[in-house]
Symmetry: C2
Subunit: 425 residues, 2 copies
């Protein structure tokens, strides 16, 4: 192996032949591996099995959670998530099994009814634009896309979204919000800097009802001994005179069970009241039994201890992927770069421009499913066709090793193909 950029055509052809042989050997194995979604592995899910044996039903305030009522969540759950979100109980809404659904609902609230300071419902505006720090989370972008909003890409930096770009774009009053994953971002694993948070809170947005959808999905999902964190967005926004700007979300989908957990929102009292009013016709209440047992279970085992057990399972998986990337790609020159997150569920691999789709296709042909190239960008289109999201959490470590080997071979093969195509005829 040597720097591909220093190779002449013959050397590249030789490398291509060697890689093709390695690739064919993998393809012959009949692999069926999936690195496409950020799902916890079964051993992680096993950590929370005692939760399923808890039949607590009396809330701290004497409410029987087996019956109707308490749309904003049972008191103990509101108290618990308030601690996580850095809010008061009154600023905390505990919902159902899906924080994504709560985000969708808040966006729908703005769209159908408008927020307290909206000049009119967003549906009555000619154009609504949403800022999408990219690469980002495909399901966020899809929510705003489903409402017909125009999605504006903002480059992601290791400090968070490029705030120079954000501050420029929000001068347009059609820009009503921004998606954010502040801690261990999906997919880069970046943590927003203090400065980014302050600038988001303070910036002059032309839209009076501008909203930051702050999805702190991985806030307690550390992979190292350092518990990286961001300043509290609600407090920062309040200090800047924009307290209704912050809509903070978190969930236990990757703490306990994915799709069987509890989602919550932290926001100003006015936003929480608007949410409750909007949600009232939609449902009688959320599943408070699941809320209460989650709180009791996580208090009993200790959230930090519990997450450390997750980390013990995930660290070697991230390690295997990153090690293989180094082993195969370090010597090839700058054909690829990648992030090495300190937490969360993903890492980003950047291959040469124009090669991401080819790499994903090569992997797929050999039996390894990756997230579709472009998925982390608005409308599913990566303008550079360069980014691949790696989700190393679900496969067993041996399979992951195999998948990472194949991924690196495919990356090298696609890179060589590109260099060859650029050679003079």
């Amino acid at each position: 192996m040597a720097d591909y950029f220093s190779m002449d055509k013959n050397a590249l052809l030789q490398e291509q032949a060697a890689l093709q042989k390695e690739y064919d050997a993998f393809a012959a194995k009949g692999l069926k591996l999936d690195m496409s979604r950020g799902k916890p592995a079964p051993d992680q899910l096993d950590l929370s099995m005692p939760l399923l044996k808890m039949d607590d039903y009396m809330d701290e305030d004497g409410t029987d959670v087996r019956n109707y009522g308490a749309l904003e969540g049972c008191t103990e759950a509101r108290r618990f998530f308030a601690e996580i979100l850095g809010t008061t109980i009154e600023e905390t809404f505990v919902a159902g099994n899906s924080s994504l659904n709560m985000m969708y609902n808040m966006l729908d609230l703005g769209w159908r009814h408008g927020f307290p300071e909206s000049p009119k419902p967003w549906k009555d505006c000619d154009t609504i634009k949403f800022l999408c720090p990219s690469p980002g989370y495909d399901r966020h972008f899809r929510v705003s896309e489903s409402f017909g909003f125009e999605l504006l890409m903002v480059p992601m930096l290791p400090t968070g979204p490029d705030m120079d770009v954000v501050e420029e774009l929000v001068r347009d009053e059609a820009v009503k919000g921004i998606w954010s994953i502040p801690v261990y971002s999906n997919p880069d694993g970046y943590v927003y800097s203090d400065e980014t948070v302050q600038r988001l809170a303070k910036m002059d947005a032309a839209a009076p009802d501008f909203r930051i959808f702050w999805d702190n999905a991985y806030g307690v999902h550390h992979l190292t001994e350092v518990a990286y964190a961001c300043p509290n967005l609600l407090l920062a926004c309040r200090a800047a005179g924009h307290e209704n700007r912050a809509l903070m979300f978190c969930s236990t989908s990757k703490v306990t069970f994915s799709g069987g957990g509890v989602g919550a929102m932290g926001a100003s009292v006015q936003n929480v009241a608007a949410a409750a009013e909007y949600l009232f016709p939609m449902t009688i209440c959320y599943d408070k039994i699941n809320q209460l047992r989650h709180v009791r279970f996580l208090r009993k085992v200790g959230l930090e201890n519990h997450m450390e057990k997750h980390a013990q399972m995930l660290r070697p998986k991230f390690g295997v992927v990153v090690d293989e990337l180094h082993r195969q790609l370090d010597a090839c020159g700058t054909i690829a770069r990648w992030t090495e997150p300190k937490g969360g569920y993903f890492l980003s691999l950047f291959v040469p421009d124009g090669c991401a789709k080819r790499v994903v296709a090569l992997c797929k042909q050999a039996g390894v499913v990756l997230t579709g190239a472009g998925a982390a960008f608005p409308y599913g289109v990566d303008p550079n066709d360069s980014h691949i999201r790696i989700a190393p959490t679900y496969p067993p470590i041996e399979e992951l090793k195999t998948a990472a080997q194949l991924l690196c071979i495919a990356t090298r093969l696609a890179s060589v193909e590109k260099l060859l195509a650029a050679q003079p005829a």
Copy 2:
């Protein structure tokens, strides 16, 4: 006691004085009773406690329900609810803890996107009208009201909505749907006749995307040994060439836990596919852990046996109320009539026109909260101010007896007041 209509003014004044004395005695007791909502009592909730100790997580098809996936519900749950709804698995969507939320979503689907045969989304229509058989369920009416629809009252008969009126109204293409609780209707406890179901299925609706929101909330909630039922609406609609017209719902909110149960929808494959497409941006999946344990628990104990235990608790409660109504009101002449349901959670009391609000206010002053007068009508307005919804399930039987006594006294007092007001000066 005698027929109030045969009393002269003096007799009425005597009766009023006697009733006022009785009423004051109740008011002095400092009662705090609530007959306002259809909630199961704690002993009913206790019946399902073993459910909370079930930690099953492997679906019959090998899916780990602790992880993401299966938006339409886990296979076992779809099979189970298909049996209840009389549908195939493919015609069955199993959702979260709230069937009301699923109804809301289906209405929002029509509003935002339109159904497969909609000329355009309902939001782009000048006027949308919805038929509200009344008295009916306030939360149904509120869903359609929250979308700004015009609510049209249809009289409820013991056979279901007055179909002559319905058939006339659906000739207006702005009429897009009808609310229905076909078995043990809320609040009357009526069961739709076979003819009503056939006429709903066959009628010529001007709107090609007309939808029947068929909330079979009490389909297994019998109070007698007869399991009253309706013909299968989806089959009837299919036979009439209108299979997309039927949207059937059910839930376990009053089988297991209220707000902690599972809701489901039965509909044509096309409707189920439209629902899944619409819901995709909104959530990753519903809580399949709760789905699976519900199915396993209810199969284990037997749904019929389980519901018979509920019935044993509810029968005496309905009995106490109905007995007291007979005891106090039979002799008073036709001041009141009421329904005596064979299942469900409610009964209707009709007091003299113009007296319902007064009766509810009298009860409230004496410490007994009833559902607000008019709540069972569109916009919360009973044009006759005559109807009171009685929810006898939640209070302990002794309290219920007291509340029923007071209710009857209040009914008689309000009736006497009305007769006195009509006396020549």
